[in-house]
Symmetry: C2
Subunit: 288 residues, 2 copies
Amino acid sequence: MRVNDLSSAQVSVVGLGLMGGSLAGALRGRCRRVVGVARRQETIEAAQEHGLIDEGTTELGEGVRQADVVVLATPVRVILRQLAEIGPLLPEGCLLMDLGSTKADIVAAMARLPDHVQPLGGHPMCGKEVSGIAAADPTLYQGRTFILCPLPRTSAAALALGCHLAEAVGAQPLVLEADRQDYLVATLSHLPYLLACALVATADATTSADPAAWQIVASGFRDTSRLAGSDVTMMTDILLTNRAEVLKALRHYAAQLTRLTRLVESGDEEEMGAALSRIRRERLRMFP
Amino acid sequence: MRVNDLSSAQVSVVGLGLMGGSLAGALRGRCRRVVGVARRQETIEAAQEHGLIDEGTTELGEGVRQADVVVLATPVRVILRQLAEIGPLLPEGCLLMDLGSTKADIVAAMARLPDHVQPLGGHPMCGKEVSGIAAADPTLYQGRTFILCPLPRTSAAALALGCHLAEAVGAQPLVLEADRQDYLVATLSHLPYLLACALVATADATTSADPAAWQIVASGFRDTSRLAGSDVTMMTDILLTNRAEVLKALRHYAAQLTRLTRLVESGDEEEMGAALSRIRRERLRMFP
């Protein structure tokens, strides 16, 4: 490790969208310097105007050359490409993290990094259905869980620094194995996205043709369908890199939906009431 | 009609749960008198303590005897039972409305009311996943659509008074045929409830066994599953009285879910991106 405490570290955030821009803004003032790396100069300028970074560059090599911590905040498959190239650009002892929503493929790619780099997978449980630097919000991480996936080669000091970074942006670090995190987020995060998409597609194919539908659609539909507005590039990468777990979650879900459909078909009031009450209690247990 | 303007009307609200209690509170001061009718004396007392009603009673006959407008704010199948009995209790020219979420069965029952009553089906597009008088909120109806389903026998003056009542609580009236409203809300309101239930049941059967799931579950899952916390008696009544339309919506939805599942299975990036982008655009069109 180049530094042991965050306050003396230069942190370079690669990718200044919603997640990266928000992280940069939350870290600014809590570390020595926040450097933003983006493909387009306009993004750098916007990040500077919003006070999210100390310095910015469109050159990856220049942005990470003096970094104590590098955070890749790009879509998952861009992270995979960057991991294949970034190693030689990083200084000795640099901590390399990411914010990708799926972890097994990323951690496997991190295992192939050169020995002088300390890798640590990361996945903060937050987001919005809007994307881009204009939506960046330094409070985005506050009170959220920040999953960390260390590799066998990750040192205790590197993991501790990653935990400090998560805490510095207001999140609670949670150390998890990559496979376990991918299994859990398939049901808790990727499945809800697909349900929301199927709901919007259903309305689009049926009720949206009726002008009254637009006056009727209420907060229930709005909340249930919110995730269908998520960034498509991000979600495509997630679905393609967590396919097996997402398909398992979809199969479980389809079985539950069939069970509920049969209850409605049967019209058995008692059975329906009992099943819906069990589900309601479980929802209250999840969100008291 | 007994009155032509709401300000001189006594409005009796039968059922002081979330919907009835909120309506009573919103109407108070905008009509001559708001009378609350509930099964239990404690509910009347709570409604009075919260300033939602002028007077209250547990006797239906007493509560509606002098009413210019009666609003049935009970679950759909209770409304159906009340419609079979309430006719003889109502004064000549009384406007009888309801707040039930399904309208075909209710409007059919309203058609059998004695001639001296003016019937008008109603369905305000609002709600919360909490129920009961303690959750009542006079602002609940503000900015929402209030569907009104007049019968062939409903007079223009009765419909106008119903519109005034909707506007008095801050809602926008929308006149719709009962069958058309039931078709629309099956997809826009009842389907989202069932999806949320299937999602909670899926997590319950799989990830909830892992303690980390409780730290990971984020705002996406919370919003998508919110409706699963809805009142079970209300939802059972809705599903049982709108079965045919709900089953049609479920079939459409299952087909869309199968389509998305096949896209994930195929792993065809281009097709997936195109389908998810179309859905995202449609979601933005629904909620700009």
